[in-house]
């Protein structure tokens, strides 16, 4: 038993995951870019030249300055300023932070819902299964974005603008989590159906374990790898959904912008030639979503049990 004596780190170094990661240039580059963006976003208060939430640091006279390299640029604002005179670099760093937070939070929520409902539907079967999956079907046929828009619209209409703006982060996590749980529930259900037939489940049943214990302690760990793959892609989807909601005015307010609301507020000024206010946050959004999607593709290839059995 050599593997048992190896430390956790060494086991990871010997693993197929690490092996295939080292061999995949796209995965390495995507991972590095993602880590860079996450670090820059998490430590935004350290890196950002100004604090976009602090009104005292904003001077309206600095509004709509272009990025460095164009005529009329100010070297204090490397990516230019927006219409209110906020430094674009700082707002983008803070905005990425908000977008990542919502994306991650929404996926945690939908994973919790999806795992719970997926396990219940797959393991219990019968009526529970058909009701839960019918709800999932209907929700998916409406498309997750449509559900998110409708739920967002209803919340906004019932809470009012001001109230909605204050708790927008939690609202968005909730809305996107509710809208997208069927994706994860379906994946979990499919793997539970496959696991359920295996002998260890029969053994656990014969030993008299309770249903809850079998579901969460025995079956769940064996369904984790597909959940992991789909959750990665879902973070990208959640970030796009958040951006779309914010762009429609159903998301983050301008005072506490995410990437989506930055694009929205910049869009009003595109006709006057200030393209950077909307297109630079847009580019950041696309890069962020693209690297997460590429990592998700790579994970799917690696963890696909049909390609690799280990």
């Amino acid at each position: 038993m050599t593997t048992a004596t190896l430390s956790r780190w060494n086991r990871f170094r010997e693993s197929f995951l690490w092996y295939s990661f080292r061999r995949d240039k796209v995965a390495i580059v995507s991972f590095l870019v993602l880590i860079l963006m996450v670090l820059a976003a998490v430590f935004a208060p350290l890196f950002a030249p100004t604090d976009p939430y602090d009104l005292a640091q904003i001077d309206i006279m600095n509004s709509e300055l272009p990025p460095v390299g164009m005529q009329g640029a100010d070297s204090a604002f490397p990516l230019g300023t927006d219409a209110q005179g906020r430094d674009m670099l700082s707002t983008i760093l803070y905005g990425t932070r908000v977008s990542l937070l919502i994306g991650f939070g929404a996926v945690v929520l939908q994973a919790a819902l999806g795992i719970l409902f997926g396990l219940l539907a797959g393991y219990l079967g019968g009526r529970v299964d058909s009701i839960l999956m019918r709800i999932a079907d209907v929700q998916l046929s409406f498309s997750t974005l449509m559900v998110a828009i409708i739920v967002g619209a209803v919340f906004k209409a019932s809470f009012g603008n001001l109230m909605f703006g204050e708790i927008a982060i939690y609202m968005l996590i909730f809305i996107i989590g509710i809208a997208e749980w069927p994706q994860i529930a379906r994946t979990v259900r499919a793997s539970v159906l496959a696991e359920k037939k295996k002998e260890y489940v029969d053994a656990a049943k014969v030993m008299g374990f309770r249903t809850n214990r079998i579901m969460f302690r025995h079956i769940l760990p064996n369904t984790l790898s597909p959940i992991f793959v789909i959750a990665t892609v879902q973070i990208a989807n959640a970030i796009i959904s958040e951006a779309a909601l914010s762009f429609l005015g159903l998301g983050m307010p301008e005072t506490q912008p995410s990437l989506g609301s930055l694009i929205k507020s910049g869009f009003d000024y595109i006709q006057s030639g200030s393209w950077w206010i909307t297109l630079i946050p847009g580019l950041v959004l696309v890069v962020l979503v693209l690297v997460i999607n590429l990592l998700g593709d790579w994970l799917r290839d690696v963890m696909n049990p049909r390609l690799y059995k280990g």
């Binding site: 209907v138 409406f142 449509m146 828009i149 779309a244 762009f247 869009f267 595109i270 979503v289």
Partner: protein, 349 residues
Amino acid sequence: MLAFLVQRVSQALLVMFVISVIAFAIQDGLGDPLQEMVGMSVSQEEREALREELGLNDSMVVQYLRFAGKAIQGDLGNSYFYGKPTLEVISEHLPATLELVIGASLIIMLLSVPIGVYAAIRPQALLAKFFMGVSTVGISIPVFLTAIVLIQIYSIGITVEWFPADTGWGQWLNGALSTEGGLPSYGRGDDLTHLFGTWYSGFFSESGLLHLILPCVSLASIMLPLFIRLIRAEMMEVLQSDYIRYARAKGLSAVRINFLHALKNTMLPVITVGGVQVGVMVAYTILTETVFQWPGVGLMFLEAITRSDIPLIVAYLMVVGLIFVVTNTLVDLVYGLVNPTVKLTGKKA
């Protein structure tokens, strides 16, 4: 077949019932019709009398039944903002959205089939790899961002001055990368042709068509990568099958095999998936219409939200729900008709 039909239709009715309950709950929870109808000066007694007269004191079930009964007769109340029946408002805005969807679907069909088939026949070709790469990136770009970039390039125009203008190649590169812009990016234009009823079409005039270009391309851009990937995957699977090998062995020409034999079986799943994608399309029309100020139902819905025009929001939900349910049921039925392996009545596996 009859059992299948009954099952699907009753399922559709059930979904429609749930949608109407949700819509009713929204209407009941968000709007107080009294506040919209009477001013501050009306006394408490008068309010109570009016409440009784309007049936607002009845039980929930009675109120729902009244709501549903009116809805079936096509009465979903009056819009606060427009001051007319909500269905009339929607029918005025629907043609614009439909034209957007038609235009985008045309672009998707005309491009996705040739590109998908090509990528399936020559998976190793450089051009095919390029198309697949572009479609991966395309999926990661939100539709409103595509729209904004298109506006910047083709409506506002860009001037590139990165290269030295005093050299010949610099000037040429600057010129080649700059665009003039000039395409309209706002609304539908004024030159619309009246077809029938509330349908004013932009397909029959130059200005109408010009106004359609950017919104349709934006809306198509989000679905195009998906369809290219789907057609490619389906086609590659079909090309592996025995009957294609047999056709090849028989010496049929490649064109005949690819386009007559293989494409036919490729398109079946593509059409059904396409039908389901209608739902996704409606969500994206809201985004596209917002960017281009396109006067369709999506923009109307968003404006209704900002104006708290509850009856219009509810009517939109009902109409869109109906469209979803009808298309999904039709797709299911068509699939059941065309593909005999579908279990018609049995329970889900």
